[in-house]
Symmetry: C2
Subunit: 501 residues, 2 copies
């Protein structure tokens, strides 16, 4: 068993080591709690579980600010204890989602690159009061060595009056050195972020904190509750093949370097499958500049295709995590974790010219994208970093299966029931049916390309019928819509269980 | 009368001086024509008028790429000659708008910061074939001194095979030195844009071109067809007063420096009125980092309130233009014009921390904004730079009158009929009724604040009724909408001429 004192390198700090319960006792109702964590990676576990016990007994609510989603010991335990008044900026937990959609939790769904600065600016309802951050170790100077994610931890630590560090002995010390912490100054003093390549190092390998700023240190040995990835199915394989065909042509036309540009890929199974498809592609010397490093990136590294990956979080499957630990000495040379303010920076996405690849819940014939809501009303997860990347990438893709619920839902609709990315932000749509390249097109042109190449054959005639009737009714106006019918597919699904007539 | 040869400083170029008709003869049907101009400022006039004559005779169409809107001698003349197949990225001309909305012109409505790079990348349907650029003069080295705007001229000149320079002798030579031309490299070689203050100079005072690259030089003496601004009315004055109250409180709360942060203000009368309101504000040492420099900025300079203004275009009213010319020696010390790729850069908007102030056609109770479409279908002008600034500003405002058409239209609706800026992108809404500060709020919270502070009393009960019924019907879901009714206000207006029941 590891003695936590070996990981707290300044003996003067040993006196601050307390139990999770003691640390949790400092938290007061209504406080803004900023934690580490981005996906079920690198989030605090012991103090949140202890606080959940208090929440159950004391009818106790706080506001939870994180990097993105976090694991069940935090999101799940607090939601089940009815302990969250406000949640931001992203979530994927079932218990939280339920309370967001029944009015119990106020959820603020933010661009992930905006969170740290909005927190520093005081725009989120006061400042962060308490930072709870998972660490591998604390340095002699009281600085924090993070674990499997960085998220917004550096800004939360900087701003909070109370800093609780969970030293997690299940996290390997080889993580030390994999982080690059840069916190921009705020306007009017902000300088250019001095990064021009995915592997540039511009900051410190630790979160600056200092001995005096640490309030409590809590031992923890619970591992990240990583989750399995869905098996790669035929539809995902088809999307990946369409992507590679498309990129091959871009190279041929002189619009893309042969080793592509830095890849960004969203979280989840489809995104992972698309990345996996690159293992058998002709591309060499690939680089990644993204949020989340998933199993597919390890495949690319092992295949000798990927020279460097920059992210804010390591989010492998359970098997992927084991694989990472087994070969951490090699992987750590090719991976860096950054604060999400840097990983998702619009400045950097545009400078590096990333290839932005994200998934949509639905998109419409005119090229708008819904990333967040089911049937216009129910929150699924949140926008995450998709907007940061989609708006600013060199080339922006959105992926979706053409249908859902065995065909009862068409992912391509006349009008999106909620819009997170507009017609101005997307270059290419890909479904298992094909590729719609909408660059430079007008809305009516986009509609024909999207219906032809992306929609499911069951829905193509219905979409064309809507478009043609709307064109005639409006006199071929710029974006022909029938206000009476634009959302009728969603209405029909809600009433009958299918979008089909 | 000015001899154009005095303004073409290399005598070897005098042989390239031709008539507008001769220059226009080089243009072939289907070509991509990239011109100078951003608002009715700094656009070519003589060659477009000559080409319009050819268009009328020859059933001749081209694709027109500009900075933004341009004057009647280009947009108007070509549209009236049925000479435009595709138009991008923005327009305000009546003849063009009509053809966009009857299917004759394919219009590609783009973020203004995206245009130059998409053109260089070859994403807009081939490369630009011909650049037509208005100039004050041509230097000894064949470089181009621009006039009252910069727009996308530097990239169009760089990429085009044919470069036609219109030397406009109505433009005063004192404009020389007011420009700062910086063209970023493209990925993977792009470097940080080295600008950290609105008055930094990072490029050249001319558009790099070179003697050999110039195909033709054409004399012109037609002035910019600048347009009058609407008189400032009580509603605009009220919005301006709300803005100042709000900013005063931000300063008091420590969330804003006393001299504010660089101001960005959209084009048009409301935006101009809001800026004018700052003349009588307590703020000193203001700066501007925006697209368009309008009359209000001159008022601020004259009042000693504004130390520096950076834009891409000078767009005063006719009186404002005269005022600018009369005192150009002083104004030129405090104004710089940049390419719109720099003026509208997300990197710079975020670094400088601009205060983004733009106008909406409508916004909805959950905080989405429609900047472009009337009743969901008909294109008004375009998104322009509003998205570049709104997404990336320190503090993002949208302004609108609470009603239009004498109350038949509510500018606050249950759901926008078109969305250009999403709930993730706006901090504060202002109408003549008041201020809705939606920072950090959930959709249901936003709805109550927007209805209470921004909606017109005639529509407040209807909006509240929709919200409450949607909440009940959906079980207080995250974004309660009734798919059957969300767009019914627009349907009703189309059918009955009013949104009122």
């Amino acid at each position: 068993m590891i003695d936590i004192r070996d990981r707290v390198r300044n003996a003067a700090l040993h006196g601050k080591i307390v139990s999770a319960e003691e640390a949790a006792a400092i938290i007061k109702p209504g406080m803004n709690i900023g934690t580490s964590g981005f996906t079920p990676a690198g989030y605090p576990k012991a103090v949140p579980l202890a606080l959940a016990e208090r929440m159950k007994k004391e009818n106790f609510q706080v506001n939870l600010w994180t990097g993105a989603s976090v694991g069940k010991e935090l999101d799940g335990a607090w939601a089940e204890a009815n302990g969250i008044a406000r949640r931001l900026p992203y979530q994927t937990n079932e218990a939280i989602r339920k309370q967001i959609n029944n009015g119990k939790i106020a959820y603020t769904d933010l661009h992930l690159s905006h969170v740290a600065q909005m927190s520093r600016y005081g725009f989120l309802g006061g400042k962060v009061n308490v930072a709870i951050v998972e660490a591998c170790a604390i340095t002699e100077d009281g600085n924090i060595i993070p674990t499997t994610s960085l998220g917004n931890s550096p800004s939360f630590v900087k701003d909070a009056d109370i800093v609780i560090v969970e030293v997690n002995t299940s996290q390997p010390m080889e993580l030390e050195g994999m982080h690059d912490v840069y916190i921009p100054q705020d306007p009017p003093c902000r300088q250019p972020i001095p990064l021009t390549k995915p592997d540039d190092r511009i900051g410190t390998p630790y979160i600056p904190c200092g001995v005096d700023k640490i309030t409590y240190i809590v031992p923890c040995d619970l591992p990240d509750a990583v989750r399995p990835l869905a098996a790669i199915d035929d539809d995902a394989r088809a999307m990946s093949a369409h992507l590679i065909d498309f990129l091959n042509n871009e190279i041929k036309q002189g619009r893309m370097p042969k080793n592509l540009l830095p890849l960004q890929s969203g979280v989840g199974s489809v995104a992972n499958a698309v990345v996996c498809g690159l293992v058998n592609s002709p591309y060499e010397n690939l680089s990644v500049f993204t949020e989340v490093i998933q199993d597919g990136m390890f495949d690319l590294i092992d295949a000798g295709k990927l020279t460097f990956a920059s992210g804010t979080s390591l989010t492998p499957s359970p098997e992927g995590l084991q694989r990472f630990y087994d070969n951490i000495g090699e992987y750590r040379k090719k991976i860096v974790l950054r604060p999400q303010e840097i990983a998702n920076s619009p400045e950097l996405a545009r400078r590096l010219g990333i290839i932005a690849m994200n998934t949509a819940i639905e998109f419409d014939i005119f090229g708008h994208v819904n990333s967040t809501h089911i049937m216009g009303s129910k929150m699924m997860n949140g926008i995450g970093g998709s907007g940061d990347f989609a708006r600013n990438g060199y080339l922006t893709f959105f992926f979706s299966n053409s249908i859902a619920k065995k065909g009862a839902i068409s992912s391509i609709v006349p009008m999106c029931s909620h819009i997170d990315h507009t017609e101005h932000d997307v270059d290419v749509f890909i479904t298992e049916r094909g590729v719609a390249d909408v660059r430079g097109l007008s809305p009516k042109e986009r509609a024909r390309v999207i219906i032809k190449h992306c929609a499911h054959p069951d829905y193509q005639p219905l979409l064309t019928d809507y478009l043609e009737r709307a064109e005639k009714a409006t006199g071929f106006v710029h974006t022909p819509h029938l206000m009476d019918e634009a959302l009728s597919w969603h209405s029909r699904f809600i009433q009958t269980g299918t979008m089909k007539k």
